[in-house]
């Protein structure tokens, strides 16, 4: 992945946009298929009804003209799509997967969790403007599309998912190739290779990588810093709102335990979730005793156990994509809370979910001498 190229020597290629960005990207993929570099492309497409976008694995290159690389919503987290294709093996097809940075990062986490095989997959990401909450899009798809296009033009993300608005990794390069829209001159964008695999693709396309990408680097860095400040502030406010048990319970009070958040989460891959298993199914006497000890219990109990338990299970790999919040039928700010906790837990181990395949999962590695400050002083 990206660790094989030194950041300082990084160059890119400037691609000219003839009609618009979307068509240029689609054309790029068409060329790769014509040259046999890829056998199929995983890319978003609008559904026939026009009211949503889904990932489609395209083998027929003539269909690429209808692909929507910059889709306004994230109906299914891209990492789930890549995992669906490769969980049972790498297959014969060489596939390019066009994903947002958080989807690329989740793909890397899933690879570490042995739910994805990247052997025949080339990961291509792009500067992400964010995605709209899916319910906003569905309400009025035509209007929403216009809002989205304007948002990109004006670099205004107020219509995007709450966690998108405070995302400082929207241009993070974690895959093999990255399309840099920010900082590029008018009617151009950058293609930046970040691995040997990515370099090879460009070389096979006869695209020379010799252009300076400083304008992209400085623009994206500035944006990331701005977002980091915004993120810190948002998390500080969120902590006040949800910290302490009563506030936490209030935030999740309307949770109906549907577990939608868990099922749309790319990191939650367990076939039978612990919180759906026999472990949480108790005989009536247990429930009655619990009720008697408190006077009454919510039924089914253990909503908070599910929420906090899920945090302990996936927080270290959480990429703050926000799919959970989109799927919550009760409009609970799940992603905002989980994302805040994820930042803090990952920081404990100096870990950044999806940054690199070479970073071991924090709970699968250890140093003999570390985290002394967590221990009691025995004197």
């Amino acid at each position: 992945m990206n660790t094989s190229i030194n950041k300082q020597e990084q160059n890119g290629a400037i691609i000219a946009v003839k009609t618009n960005v979307r068509d240029t990207i689609n054309d790029f993929f068409k060329k790769t298929m014509e040259k046999g570099i890829f056998d199929a492309i995983l890319i978003p497409m609008q559904v026939p009804a026009g009211d949503s976008f889904v990932y489609v694995l395209l083998k027929d290159s003539s269909l690429l003209k209808d692909a929507s690389p910059l889709s306004p919503i994230m109906s299914v987290q891209g990492a789930k799509a890549v995992s669906s294709i490769t969980r049972l093996g790498k297959g014969h097809m060489k596939i390019a997967a066009f994903l947002r940075p958080c989807e690329t990062r989740a793909t890397i986490e899933l690879t570490k969790l042995e739910q994805t095989n990247l052997d025949n997959i080339t990961l291509i990401s792009m500067d992400c403007p964010g995605v709209m909450p899916i319910s906003d899009y569905i309400e009025d798809p035509t209007k929403a599309m216009k809002l989205f296009e304007n948002a990109i033009k004006n670099e205004d993300d107020t219509i995007m998912r709450p966690v998108c608005q405070i995302c400082d990794k929207s241009s993070m390069v974690a895959g093999d190739l990255h399309i840099g829209l920010l900082g590029a001159k008018k009617d151009t964008f950058f293609i930046i290779p970040s691995s040997e695999k990515g370099k090879q693709v460009l070389s096979d396309l006869d695209i020379t990588v010799k252009d300076n990408i400083d304008s992209w680097t400085s623009k994206t860095q500035a944006k990331a810093e701005e977002k980091q400040k915004k993120r810190k502030k948002a998390h500080k406010e969120l902590r006040l709102k949800t910290g302490a048990l009563d506030n936490f319970l209030d935030t999740f009070a309307q949770c109906i335990n549907c577990h939608n958040c868990m099922r749309v989460c790319p990191v939650c891959y367990c076939r039978v979730c612990y919180f759906d298993s026999d472990k949480v199914k108790h005989p009536s006497e247990d429930y009655l005793q619990k009720a008697e000890s408190k006077g009454s219990i919510r039924f089914l109990p253990d909503t908070s156990l599910f929420q906090m338990g899920r945090m302990t299970h996936m927080s270290l790999s959480c990429v703050s994509c926000g799919s959970c919040e989109d799927a919550c039928p009760m409009s609970i700010p799940v992603a905002q809370v989980f994302s805040m906790i994820a930042d803090e837990t990952q920081e404990l181990f100096n870990y950044n979910a999806g940054r690199s395949l070479e970073d071991p999962l924090p709970l699968k590695a250890y140093k003999e001498d570390e985290l002394r400050e967590m221990e009691d002083d025995h004197d």
């Binding site: 559904v47 026939p48 889904v54 489609v56 269909l63």
Partner: protein
């Protein structure tokens, strides 16, 4: 060549081991002609056919699905085909209510000695499917 002449239907046929598969065999050994559109799949009993098999076949693009078993009352396992009948009736209703072409699904009782009937059912059903044309689910990317 017109489209119709080119259309070679693919009809999945679930045949129970004891009656209808034997009947199909008999049609073969008796040199009775029946279309190559019939693709047999042997099951031990017609009640082994989960409605999901039929649904998967339909959505997978099969132009027709035939389920054939022993005549009611003659099931090798006593009751299997009674359940088959109920499940098939339910599935056909669902397919019909969804606006799909329920005529692409057919249930037939064919005993081991009914080679003729098997051939007739195959010929009739293939004709019917030819009339209906190709199953549009075959090429849909968004199923």
């Amino acid at each position: 060549m017109t489209k119709d002449e080119e259309f070679k239907p693919k009809i999945l046929a679930f045949l129970c081991n004891w009656c209808s598969y034997a009947g199909a065999d008999l049609a073969g050994t008796s040199r009775l002609k029946y279309p190559s559109s019939i693709l047999p799949i042997r099951v031990m009993c017609s009640s082994r056919v989960d409605p999901l098999f039929i649904l998967r076949a339909y959505l997978g693009g099969a132009d027709g699905v035939l389920v054939a078993g022993c005549h009611p009352g003659d099931c090798h396992y006593q009751e299997g085909n009674y359940y088959t009948r109920r499940r098939f009736v339910m599935l056909k209703k669902i397919v019909e209510d969804l606006g799909l072409q329920s005529d692409r699904l057919r249930l037939a009782w064919v005993s081991a000695s009914e080679g003729q009937k098997f051939a007739k059912v195959s010929i009739d059903f293939t004709e019917k499917i030819k009339e209906l044309g190709q199953n549009s689910a075959k090429h849909n990317m968004f199923l």
